[in-house]
C-alpha cells in the first residue's frame, strides 16, 4: 500500500476520469427518456421506450440471456477453475507449464480468433448452436481468468498446509474446503468478478457461437441494424439502476454490520431485508420472463414454436404477440443484417421455419434446393397483394415466396442544400460532383453500391461483363477518393432525419421514415434506373413446422398484420389495401413519394443472382472500402 497523498492533481485526474467513463452512460440515461426515435436529437420527455421495453419480449429475453449466461458461466467457471488450479498446483511441473500455456490461448489470442475457433468447433461436430453453445464458450473463456487469479494465491500457500491438516485427522475433502479454500478466497472472488465482467460484456464470442434465436444484449444491439431502437437505452438504464442497488447493498452491508455490531440482531435483520427483497425481485423477474412462454392450450398450435429469421427491426410492434395470441404458438425471432449472413447460417443447416431474404437471395436459395415449395391451398393472402410484387423473375410463379416488403433504392437529399435540377441532370453522378464533397453518405452494401455505379455509367446492374464491373469499381474508387463520403449503414436514417449531410443512397422505406421526420428531406430516383427490390417470406427445406409457417405467412400478409408491419417499419407493404391506406389521405405516409415505389421506368431492374459476379463484387467492394480508408 502506498502512502496517502492529497495533491490536487490526483483529484483532478480522478474527476476527469469519472467524467470520461460516465459521460456516455449519462447520455444514454438522458436519451432513454427521449420522446423521439432519434438517438441524437432530444425532442421531449417521455416514458414510451420504457413501456416499449416492458412490452418487448425480445428485449426481456435478451436481458435474461445476458444475465443467465453470465451467472451460470461465472458460477461454473469459478468452481471448475478453482478446483483445477488446486489440482494443477500439485501436478508435475511439465503438466502445469503446458496447461498454463494452453490456458493462455484465449487470453493471448485476439478475441475474434477465439470466437472463430469455437464456431468452427461447434459446426464441425454438428452441435446445434444456441443457449448451450453460448454458455459452453463463455465457460471456456472464463475459466482461464479464474485460474489466473487463483493460481498466485495457491502458490503463496505453504505446500505442507494440507498435509498438516490431514495428519491432524482431516479428510482430504475437509483439508480442501476447511483449510485451502478459505486461504485463497480473495483470489476466488476476484476471479469470479473478472469472469462475470467478461461474460456480461461479451459480444464477439457470443456473436459467433449463437444460434436458434438466442441473443444477448450485445447481439441484439448489433443486429438491430435497421434502426436502433431507443428502448435499448431504457434497458441499459434499468441495468444501471439494478447494478447500483445491488452494489450499494453489498458494499454498505458489511460496513453497517461492523459499526453496529452491538445492536447486531436488529441491524442484521434490517440488512437482510433489502438483500432478500432484491433477490426476490430478481427471481420474480426471472420467473415472469420465463413464464411468458406459457400459453393456454386450447389454441390450434399451442406448445409449438415458430423460428423466424428476419432483418433487425423489421416487424411491427404487435404482430408477433398477436400471432401468438391467435395461434397459441411461441415465436422465436433471430435477426440478420445482410442476406449473406442469413445464407451462411441456412446453408450450414440451421433450422428456421420462415426466412425473409431479398429477391436475388431467394433465387439462390431456390437454385441450391434450400427452400420448400409453398402449399398454395394453405395460403389465403395472394389475392390481397399488389400486382407489382407478384411473379417477379426470382420466383416467377411465387412457388416459394410471398412478398413481405418491397421498394426501391434512391437518393435522399436535403432540399435546402441540393437542387432537384442537379439531381435530374446528373443522376447518380451527383455522387462525383465536387460541389458536395464531404457532404454525402454511401450505403455499405456491395450490391447497391455497384448498382449505383453501374447505373451511373449506363450499364445494367445485372451485368456479368468484367470490363463494366471494373469501370464501376473505378467509379466507386473515384467517389471515395475525391468526395470524402461517409460509408454508413442504417446510421444514415437518423443522420438524414437530423439533416447532417446533403444526401445519401438509401432504401425507399428508410427514406419514407426520414421524410416523415424532417420535411426538408426529399427522395429522388434517377431516371437511369434503380434496384426494385422485394423481401419475401420463404420456408426453408429443413423447416420443422411448415404448417405454422404457412399460418404466419397468412397472418403477416393479412390487412392487420401488414398494416402493423408497414406503419411501424416504414417500408412499403405488398398488401394493396394497406399500401393505399398508408399513402392515402390521413395515412402515415401521405404525400411521401418514397413510400410508393416507382413501377413505370423501364430502366429499373430486379437483382438476378450470379455466384461468380457476386464474388467479384464482394472482393471489389472490400477494396473500395480499403481505398476509402487510405484516402482518409
Amino acid at each position: 500500500m502506498l502512502r496517502k497523498n492529497s495533491r490536487p492533481i490526483g483529484k483532478i485526474l480522478m474527476v476527469l476520469m469519472l467524467i470520461f467513463f460516465y459521460l456516455p452512460i449519462l447520455y444514454m440515461i438522458v436519451f432513454s427518456f427521449n420522446d423521439s426515435k432519434s438517438l441524437t436529437g432530444f425532442t421531449g420527455f417521455s416514458l414510451r421506450w420504457y413501456q416499449h421495453m416492458l412490452e418487448s419480449r425480445d428485449m426481456m429475453e435478451a436481458l435474461y440471456t445476458t444475465f443467465g449466461v453470465a451467472l451460470a458461466a461465472t458460477l461454473i467457471s469459478t468452481v471448475v477453475g478453482t478446483i483445477s488450479a488446486i489440482g494443477l498446483s500439485r501436478s508435475k511441473k511439465i503438466v502445469r507449464d503446458l496447461l498454463t500455456q494452453v490456458n493462455n490461448l484465449p487470453l493471448m489470442n485476439p478475441e475474434i480468433v477465439t470466437a472463430i475457433g469455437f464456431m468452427l468447433l461447434f459446426i464441425t461436430f454438428r452441435v446445434e448452436k444456441g443457449y448451450a453453445t453460448m454458455l459452453l464458450a463463455h465457460i471456456a473463456f472464463c475459466i482461464p481468468y479464474v485460474m489466473l487469479s487463483v493460481m498466485p494465491k495457491i502458490r503463496s500457500l505453504d505446500p505442507n498446509l494440507a498435509d498438516a491438516a490431514m495428519d491432524l485427522g482431516a479428510t482430504p475433502w475437509q483439508a480442501l474446503t476447511k483449510v485451502i479454500i478459505p486461504q485463497i478466497t480473495p483470489g476466488i472472488i476476484s476471479g469470479a468478478l473478472i469472469a462475470f465482467t467478461m461474460s456480461v460484456d461479451d459480444f464477439i464470442i457470443s456473436y459467433f457461437v449463437t444460434g436458434s434465436g438466442v441473443k444477448n444484449l450485445s447481439i441484439m444491439v448489433y443486429t438491430m441494424s435497421k434502426r436502433v431502437n431507443p428502448s435499448i437505452n431504457a434497458v441499459s438504464t434499468l441495468m444501471v439502476v439494478i447494478i447500483t442497488i445491488v452494489l450499494l447493498i453489498i458494499n454498505l452491508a458489511p460496513g453497517f454490520i461492523a459499526k453496529r455490531q452491538r445492536a447486531a440482531e436488529i441491524t442484521k435483520r434490517k440488512m437482510v431485508l433489502p438483500a432478500t427483497l432484491t433477490l426476490a425481485v430478481v427471481v420474480v423477474g426471472a420467473i415472469t420472463v420465463s413464464g411468458l412462454g406459457a400459453r393456454p392450450s386450447a389454441l390450434p398450435y399451442a406448445g409449438q414454436t415458430l423460428y423466424l429469421y428476419n432483418w433487425g427491426e423489421y416487424t411491427g410492434e404487435n404482430i408477433l404477440q398477436d400471432f401468438e395470441a391467435a395461434t397459441g404458438a411461441t415465436v422465436v425471432m433471430e435477426n440478420f443484417d445482410s442476406n449473406e449472413q442469413m445464407y451462411i447460417k441456412v446453408a450450414n443447416g440451421e433450422a428456421y421455419d420462415i426466412l425473409v431474404p431479398s429477391d436475388y437471395m431467394i433465387q439462390r436459395l431456390i437454385s441450391e434446393g434450400l427452400l420448400q415449395e409453398l402449399d398454395h391451398s394453405k395460403l389465403n393472402c395472394m389475392d390481397d397483394l399488389t400486382e407489382a410484387v407478384i411473379g417477379l423473375p426470382y420466383d416467377v410463379n411465387n412457388d416459394y415466396s410471398v412478398p413481405y416488403f418491397w421498394g426501391s433504392v434512391g437518393i435522399v437529399y436535403d432540399k435546402t442544400k441540393v437542387s432537384l435540377e442537379d439531381l435530374e441532370a446528373e443522376g447518380y453522378n451527383i455522387f462525383l460532383d465536387e460541389k458536395y464533397r464531404g457532404d454525402i453518405y454511401l450505403y455499405d452494401s456491395e450490391r447497391d453500391s455497384f448498382m449505383m455505379a453501374l447505373k451511373a455509367l449506363g450499364y445494367s446492374m445485372n451485368t456479368e461483363d468484367p470490363d463494366e464491373l471494373q469501370a464501376a469499381y473505378d467509379w466507386l474508387v473515384q467517389c471515395v477518393e475525391t468526395m470524402k463520403p461517409e460509408i454508413v449503414t442504417d446510421e444514415i436514417i437518423d443522420n438524414m432525419a437530423q439533416g447532417r449531410k446533403a444526401m445519401g443512397l438509401i432504401y425507399s422505406g428508410d427514406a419514407a421514415y426520414v421524410m416523415s421526420e424532417n420535411e426538408n428531406m426529399g427522395f429522388y430516383m434517377p431516371e437511369g434506373g434503380t434496384n426494385l427490390w422485394s423481401d419475401a417470406m420463404v420456408i426453408p427445406a429443413n423447416a420443422k413446422n411448415p404448417d405454422l409457417a404457412h399460418e404466419f405467412i397468412n397472418f403477416a400478409s393479412d390487412y392487420d398484420g401488414a398494416y402493423d408491419n408497414s406503419s411501424y417499419v416504414g417500408y412499403t407493404s405488398p398488401n394493396q389495401q394497406v399500401m393505399a391506406d398508408l399513402s392515402g389521405e390521413g395515412g402515415d405516409f401521405e404525400g411521401i413519394n418514397a413510400y410508393l415505389p416507382r413501377t413505370d421506368n423501364p430502366n429499373d431492374e430486379v437483382f438476378v443472382f450470379n455466384d461468380a459476379t457476386r464474388k467479384i463484387i464482394s472482393n471489389l467492394w472490400s477494396k473500395v472500402k480499403i481505398a476509402a480508408s487510405n484516402a482518409n
Partner: protein
Amino acid sequence: MKRFSQLAIPYIIWAALMLILPMLLIALYSITEHGNSIISFSITPEHYIKFFTDPDFLIILWRSIWIAIKTTVICLLLGYPIAYFIARSREKLQNLLVLAITIPMWINMLVRTYAWIGLLSEGGPIQQILAFFGLGEVELLYTEAAVLLGMVYNFLPFMILQINTSLCKMDNSLLEASADLGADPLHTFMRVTLPLSLPGVINGITLVFLPAVSSFFIPKLLGGGQYFLIGNLIENQFITAGEWNFGSAISMIMAIIMMLLMMTMRKVEIRNQGGKED
C-alpha cells in the same frame, strides 16, 4: 498431497477439447481448399498466398496493429497515473474508485459505443462545447480519432485495474527504505515503484492490445464503413462473404503475430524480474 493433482484431470480433457481443438480447426481450415467438408479435403497454401501477395490486405493488417499500438500507448499514459493515484488514496476511496471503473463494463459495451455516436455527432453535445471555444467545424464522428477514442474508452479500465492491482500489492516498507537510503521521490518511483508494477503494466498492455487489434464493431460504429480494419475483414469473410478458409488463414496469421508479440513481452518481463533478483 499428490492426490489433489487428480483434480486437474477433468480440466486437462476440457482444455484439449475447448481450447486446443478450436485452434487446430482454424489451422486446418486455413490450409484447405474452398468447401467446408472435413472428409474430402485437399491441402493448399493459396489463402496465405492471397493474403501476403495483396498489398491492400497488408496495409489493413498494419493499420490495425498501428491503431492498437496507439490505443495501448494512450491507455498506458492515462491509465498509469490514474492507477497510481487510486493506489495512493485512502482504502475506502480506493475501493469506491475501483468499483466506479468496473461498473461501466457491466453496462453493455455496444450501448456505450452507441452513446458515443450521439455525443460525437454533428451538432451533438461535444461539438457544441467545441463550438463555444470557436472550434465548431471540427468533424468528430467517423474519423480515426473517434475510433481511437472508442477503443481507449472501452479498454482503459482493463489497464487501470491491472496496474492498480500490482501497485496495491507493493510493500510500503520498500518505499520507506528507499527514502531512508536517500532517494528522492522521482528516484524511488523510477527504481522501485515502476519496476515492481511492471507485471501489472504487461498484463494491462495484453488486455488492451488484443481486443483493440481485432475489434470490428468500434471501427464500424465510430469510424463508419470507410474505416476498415483486420477484424472487419475477418468478420466479413465469415459472416457475409462465406470464405471461411480465407477467414481462417487471416485468423491464423493474426494469432501467430500476436503470439510472437506476447512472447517477446513476457521475455522482457522475465528478464526484468531476473535482473531485480541479482
